[in-house]
């Protein structure tokens, strides 16, 4: 048995790999931003005393957390198609990934909200701040700060999981790899390169979140407390 690797044959296609990696990062970026918004709203909704709001939020979160991502992607893809709506594979992928990561974000953010001491909220109420102002000024950032590592890991996981979007022919990194290996018959080499690229993308995202943390949590920067 001998292992013969021919990387140059595959690396010739570096522009395709790069395009795929960029698209994966774009998918992840859109889904992260939109999913963070959706998830935060769902977490707030789940915490309200109004069952007409908290009920649907709970159903959304539990449904998504108990079904496979690939099935969710197909549901969005074929669901939109059967309604006669035409969207690009990229838009469908962003929508499905947003819906998916939003549910996980909601669970994480809920834990963050619950970790805010009741006294903080009472102090804010005592200062005549409104419900919305309390969420915005008092609860949101400290809650994010408390769950920041879990939250950012979730978004990195989302980027990795976006590889299943190759199934609806979004031209992301894994889809590109699938073409290249069937063209070159160099599957092993192709997926080694793809794996390395995913590691790099993960590191890029983690670095991005680290930088964002410096902006979001100036106190940590000032006092030198790591996240």
């Amino acid at each position: 048995m001998s292992l013969q690797l021919d990387f140059p044959a595959v690396l010739e296609r570096w522009t395709s790999f790069l395009a795929g990696a960029v698209l994966t990062l774009e998918l992840a970026a859109f889904a992260t931003v939109l999913g963070a918004l959706l998830g935060t709203l769902a977490a707030v909704g789940r915490g309200t005393h109004n069952a007409l709001i908290s009920g649907p939020c709970k159903v959304y979160v539990e449904t998504i957390r108990n079904t496979p991502l690939l099935v969710q992607i197909f549901l969005v893809y074929f669901g939109l198609a059967s309604l006669g709506l035409k969207f690009s594979a990229f838009a469908v992928a962003v929508a499905a990934l947003t819906i998916n990561v939003g549910a996980y974000t909601a669970e994480i953010m809920r834990a963050g909200f619950e970790a805010i001491p009741r006294g903080q909220i009472e102090a804010a109420e005592g200062l005549a701040l409104s419900r919305l102002q309390i969420y915005w000024h008092i609860i949101l950032l400290p809650a994010i700060e408390k769950v920041y590592p879990a939250l950012t890991s979730q978004f990195v996981l989302l980027m990795l999981a976006s590889s299943v979007c190759s199934q609806i022919s979004a031209e992301e990194l894994t889809a590109v790899a699938n073409y290249i290996q069937s063209d070159t018959y160099r599957a092993f080499e192709t997926y080694i390169i793809v794996a390395v690229l995913y590691v790099i993308l993960s590191l890029v995202m983690r670095a991005g979140f680290w930088g964002l943390g410096l902006v979001l949590f100036p106190r940590r920067r000032r006092l030198g407390t790591p996240l």
Binding site: G119, Q120, E122, G126, L127, A128, E145, L223
Partner: protein
């Protein structure tokens, strides 16, 4: 000290009832606080002091009776909570400064967000109230960089910045050692001297005696004995006698 106390009450409770489940915590509590007056709420643990105080700022809803605070009918369901809380400042035992904001931001937040004060004006205000509590140099510090006594003084400053008509204090020195307690009490004394209307729950009997215009001794959810500070040295009921006799009267 007031000629016409009834028309000048800042806070008045009349026959206030409050239960938690089957536990009757306030059982017909009545007292009033006039403008510029300092009222000290004392009593054993569990006698309902905090609950009474929290009812004034409507952190608890009463089951019966009447509470009027700066003209707001606090017992009514339609009370304008935000208007009420602009008139009332409350300071808790656990400071509750916002940890992610600097002391300056802690102080300017509500005046800007609630009263729409311009940022530059709010910053001037922050300096002024911090000077009042002797913490000017901590403007840009974060709460965790301050000692307990400093945090409590900053919390008082934060309340003062809303220019309340009455301040409520709930055992604001209970978490502090004697030295830090003294610096917080000094601030409160100065407030009293400046004419601030205050209701304070306190275990510092010596302090209550020195500063309070009136003492309300609570026992089992009732106002058991009330009068000027002198009742602490010559109590009439056996319960208050026992309460001040059990080492509570430090001076």
């Amino acid at each position: 000290m007031q000629q016409n106390p009834s028309s000048d009450s800042i806070v008045s409770l009349r026959d206030v009832q409050k239960s938690f489940g089957s536990l009757r915590v306030l059982d017909g509590v009545s007292f009033a606080v006039e403008r510029g007056e300092v009222l000290a709420l004392i009593g054993r643990s569990g006698s309902g002091k905090s609950t009474a105080l929290r009812c004034i700022d409507r952190f608890e809803k009463v089951d019966g009776g009447e509470i009027v605070v700066c003209g707001h009918r606090v017992d009514r369901p339609d009370v304008d909570l935000r208007a009420l809380r602009q008139d009332v400042g409350i300071v808790f035992q656990s400071y509750n400064l916002f940890p992610h904001l600097t002391i300056e931001q802690n102080i300017t937040l509500a005046p800007c967000a609630v009263k729409g004060l311009a940022h530059s004006q709010a910053k001037d205000l922050a300096r002024k109230v911090l000077a009042q509590v002797g913490l000017e140099e901590k403007l840009h510090a974060y709460p965790e960089q301050l000692s307990g006594g400093q945090q409590q003084r900053a919390a008082i400053a934060r309340s003062l910045a809303m220019q309340p008509k009455v301040m409520l204090f709930d055992e604001v020195t209970s978490a502090l050692d004697p030295e830090l307690t003294a610096e917080v009490l000094k601030v409160i004394e100065q407030l009293a001297a400046d004419g601030m209307t205050m209701v304070m729950v306190t275990h510092e009997m010596g302090f209550a005696k020195g500063i309070a215009d009136r003492i309300v001794f609570m026992h089992r959810g009732k106002v058991h004995e009330t009068g000027p500070a002198s009742i602490l040295t010559s109590p009439t009921t056996p319960e208050l006698t026992q309460f001040v006799g059990t080492g509570n009267l430090k001076s």
